[in-house]
Symmetry: C2
Subunit: 276 residues, 2 copies
Amino acid sequence: MIRIGEFSKMAQVSVPTLRYYDQMGLLKPIEVDRFSGYRYYSVNQLPRLHRILALKGLGFSLEQIGEALDDGLTPEQMRGMLKLRHAQLSQELAEMQSQLLQVEMRLQQIEREDTAYDVILKPVEPLLIASVRAILPTHSAVGQLFKEVYEGIGPYVDEALGPCPGAGGTTLVLWYDTEFKDRDVDGAAAFMVRCRVPDRGRMRVEVLPAVTVASAIHHGSYDTIGEAHEAVIRWVDAHEYRIAGPDREINLYNKPPIRRDDPTYITEIQYPVEKI
Amino acid sequence: MIRIGEFSKMAQVSVPTLRYYDQMGLLKPIEVDRFSGYRYYSVNQLPRLHRILALKGLGFSLEQIGEALDDGLTPEQMRGMLKLRHAQLSQELAEMQSQLLQVEMRLQQIEREDTAYDVILKPVEPLLIASVRAILPTHSAVGQLFKEVYEGIGPYVDEALGPCPGAGGTTLVLWYDTEFKDRDVDGAAAFMVRCRVPDRGRMRVEVLPAVTVASAIHHGSYDTIGEAHEAVIRWVDAHEYRIAGPDREINLYNKPPIRRDDPTYITEIQYPVEKI
DNA sequence: GTAAACCCTCAAGTAACTTGAGAGTCAAGA
DNA sequence: TCTTGACTCTCAAGTTACTTGAGGGTTTAC
């Protein structure tokens, strides 16, 4: 019969924690005084407390621990729990390592005094687009394809692009080359559309699949957009991802891109990626 | 001017999260309708949101992110934050690896169908003890030293051991050998005492320093206590700790140890350790 | 008898959201 | 003009494993 304070010292566990374990039903005192409410423990409970602490050390939640202790689980079940936990831990470990890498990259970026682009990973949903793809003399020539896309949509403009709500009508550019080129580049101009309309001329309607992308946002003239691309590509390399599809330049500014050097433009660069 | 739903889709961030960021002052809409309360955002806010997500990806708290964004910090400050975070991450990573190791060990233990001892790491406070140390023919001979300790305390028994509360009077055994021995072992029998009393004969009063110990609880006869020792030592080896001082067998059962094979005994095995 | 040390039961706070209830707003179609 | 459905609002509660604090009873030692 030991009072809570001494039991707490024996096991190096705080008193409120013991009370909490009582409340949770993890470790009930052998006796509770009916009048004073004092909790009384026994040394026989130390092994149980010890086991709780050991399982907690393995990273299990109190709920899991409670179940494990109450169900008097077989070694087989214990093995299952541990295997599961092992898998979880491995994954968290990998995430952490990648986070560490990211921090290191960021530091390097500062050392190099680079413009710091914020590259993040995110999932994007499938996207229905109407596009015209062509081999272009230079990157800047892609602008001229938008007119062709628009005309390709022709009579369906209202249904396909619609009014503001929904992403219908947003423009984007796709680049298909897998290596860097300066001329004769393979690109496409596209509109997001809200419904499938018939192909016409060089205009094709297709679905860009759901993918995970590494994304950065470029603020300002198109002339310096190369830096943003470079930043994302470096990020992808460093994090053991590989590029898995044409990259996208999404025009987040609502006006169509007319002057290439408008400093108020906002463009999102997305590279579909997959883990190596 | 974009409503919250569309902004949420653009950035792949949930609507409640955006509202939460607003509430936290991390990302305020450019306008809030005075009557409807509707939040309106602008594409110009995407870079800020992007930066928030990037910093969150590095593991910073929203509070830290808020400060960083509002203080328009210098690259130097950013470097400081990142260095700090780097250190934190490295440490967490190490902890996780050790946890993973622990889980693996536990699995192995099950494969071997070992009795599972629950080994945990915990800090213990400095301990004042009265002890008699000697070279003993066998481990079991340590019991005979307790009488000598008790007599050494002699007239101070009441102050030193006192009544129940406080750990005074608890008995423990210390083993000083750094390698395993079967005979001529260097051990001590000790009482925890509540005040310093004069040495007498072979009885010495000393302070066991505060250390971190790897600890297991053995339930039952002393004759099988070797298994518990083995379990702790294996744990210490596997976790890249080294033994840093004599190990302790603490008698948690209140009666003095008279019959070695009493199956109701409870003993805690503690090995002081330090990280390699 | 009293003071110190100990114990009790609430309740609130932590981080970063998610979920749900209940109610108001807006755009498009009938 | 009305309705429908999609969208939005606020507010409260839940999540984990505790810690901290308020306010008040109990034991023990002198």
